[in-house]
Symmetry: C2
Subunit: 403 residues, 2 copies
Amino acid sequence: MTLTQITELRTCYRTGLLDDTIPFWLRHGQDRDFGGFISCLGEDGTVIDTDKSIWAQGRTAWMFSTLCNTVERRPEWQAAAQSALEFLRRHGRGPDGKLYFTVTREGAPLRMRRYVYSESFAAIASAAYAKLSGEGRAAEEAVAYFATYLRHSFTPGVMPAKTDASTRPMKGLAPLMIAIVTAQELRANLGDIMVQGASCTAWIDRAIAEIARDFYKPDLGALLELVGPRGELIDHFDGRTLNPGHALECAWFILHEARHRGHDPRLLQLGLAILDVMWNRGWDQEHGGILYHTDVKGLPVAEYWADMKFWWPHNEAEIACLLAWTLTGNPKYANWHALVHEWAHRYFPDPAHGEWFGYLHRDGRISTRLKGNLWKSVFHLPRMQWYCWRLLDPTPTAAPQPA
Amino acid sequence: MTLTQITELRTCYRTGLLDDTIPFWLRHGQDRDFGGFISCLGEDGTVIDTDKSIWAQGRTAWMFSTLCNTVERRPEWQAAAQSALEFLRRHGRGPDGKLYFTVTREGAPLRMRRYVYSESFAAIASAAYAKLSGEGRAAEEAVAYFATYLRHSFTPGVMPAKTDASTRPMKGLAPLMIAIVTAQELRANLGDIMVQGASCTAWIDRAIAEIARDFYKPDLGALLELVGPRGELIDHFDGRTLNPGHALECAWFILHEARHRGHDPRLLQLGLAILDVMWNRGWDQEHGGILYHTDVKGLPVAEYWADMKFWWPHNEAEIACLLAWTLTGNPKYANWHALVHEWAHRYFPDPAHGEWFGYLHRDGRISTRLKGNLWKSVFHLPRMQWYCWRLLDPTPTAAPQPA
């Protein structure tokens, strides 16, 4: 990558973030009547569903707090972070203390789900907001949310299993990945604190070790999403289904840890190995872009929309390739980054109304024109723009790099 | 429709059923080691997942029993029906008596779900098998399964709500539709028996009355899938999302009832009205075929695969249009039938290995090449071929028409 290319890329990320993505959400997503953010928006930003995602409140509060902590302390960003976090505090919690998945615009409960990702996003939001505001309460809440996340995710029997655990015990990659990134965020904003009897770094080590031991399969050339208790391949739809974008996200969480630890060679090798095999699994040789699901044995996937192109796997692939290139200088990663960057920036952005469409057919045609829903909110796209911009920023400034 | 066209169509359905669909499943789906049927098959019939769907056991036992009862009593059909029903009896039931959604090939429990469609398919299977075999036990089981279905579906509080019922009470079209068709099947095979304090016909009347009152909206030009307790439009993704193929299935259940009652004019009018509005909602003016989901207000749908073409809405649309034509002689319905028949038969069938693909992109390209999964089994396609064939059979034979 030439210096000119680096400069152009950096500008692309910075202006995408600060002049497009963030203004789009500030303009259309803020609920000025009831607080918090509404994420279900049509292509021009019109609200098409007022129901609120608790994930989205946490993710939004994290993103705006992080921009304040690492770019500059703009009052409208701080207010947005506070509004999302306050809404979550006021309306997110169910009677047993677990966080909802969705509530109404006013904050009345709608759905509670088995899993605890609302807690993980609430944790990173609270940690970043604690750093921004100096609020001790937010720091305590971050720890409490993460503790709940860890207890539900890793204490056998706490989270009800979807599949009968006596017939077919299984464990997933996602809880481990989210443990890594949540611990990284808590450590970045609150220091390497103790949660549920271990430091953030210790939780990261445990999760990475389990991924390396049980989920990464060099012989199969894949990072599996769902395995048996000792890493056995579950030769059914669920166990064979790969999620390359998700695996590439895992790869960059590990590469980020390698970078944090001064280019730790073991972590670097693991992150690059996962990136290598899952790029090959996910990159669509025919149409370009990252396929949503593929099967580890090349069999048909149960999900009939498996060949679609979603925005977020492209965001995660872009971070993974760019980070790998900055860590290794290997031109292969610069090439892969260029491929996914160009494909994504050709098909996803909406020049008419701003931000990105989220869901494309395999060949890049738009499937649905919405800009946000319960899953697509202020997260994958701005996180990618922010992370990649900071990664390429060669000048030491007051604003810290991604931590 | 000319007599030649009718004869050709009848042959198309009969040969499709007897020379393609049914042999495909007999050859590839039967589990000769553990009994029952495996429905997760690749394009050439290879088993790609051995897990068994309890829906599929019931649906398969129903289809083969019905062929025996209405076409001829072939030993291999009777054996297939018996094998699926026996597997269901032996392995379908959870500790609380409710039926599982999936079990392993050997019959160990995998997933239990909130809802009770396993029970509805077990009920129609048992009723048809009772008629075939004369087994009193099967008749009793049919009644017991349907009673469970009705109790869980219509007694407030028995089935846990997905969405908080105090914040947003909702009711669905599906439980009413399935009540109609299940009661129709029990009545056809066991007579108009009493279940949960009412006759089959009384259950049908109640369900149709509620659909007419609360779900069919002439002013909106739609049959809604999910409404408030008194039929209120729920102006959120869930409440606005239409499922035209599902609604056309509902239309033909009502038209079937009209036919059963000697062309009951009120039922005829309701069934045709639903068919008319939902054909307009579902037929894809651009590419042909039936769209999977549309929004009642024309807004984007939350499901990113909403514009795909699934096999089963085409099966249901085909029955609805043909039945409407036979009941009214209105050439509009013959034309619609020809449109959906031609589109479906151009894109779904697999000339190389037989049977139909299940999942196409909007323009008819194949999305996944599998022939069966936990949902696609011995049901929508053969039921359509059987129903339409019998509907067009002008010669009075020993075999009864669809009852």
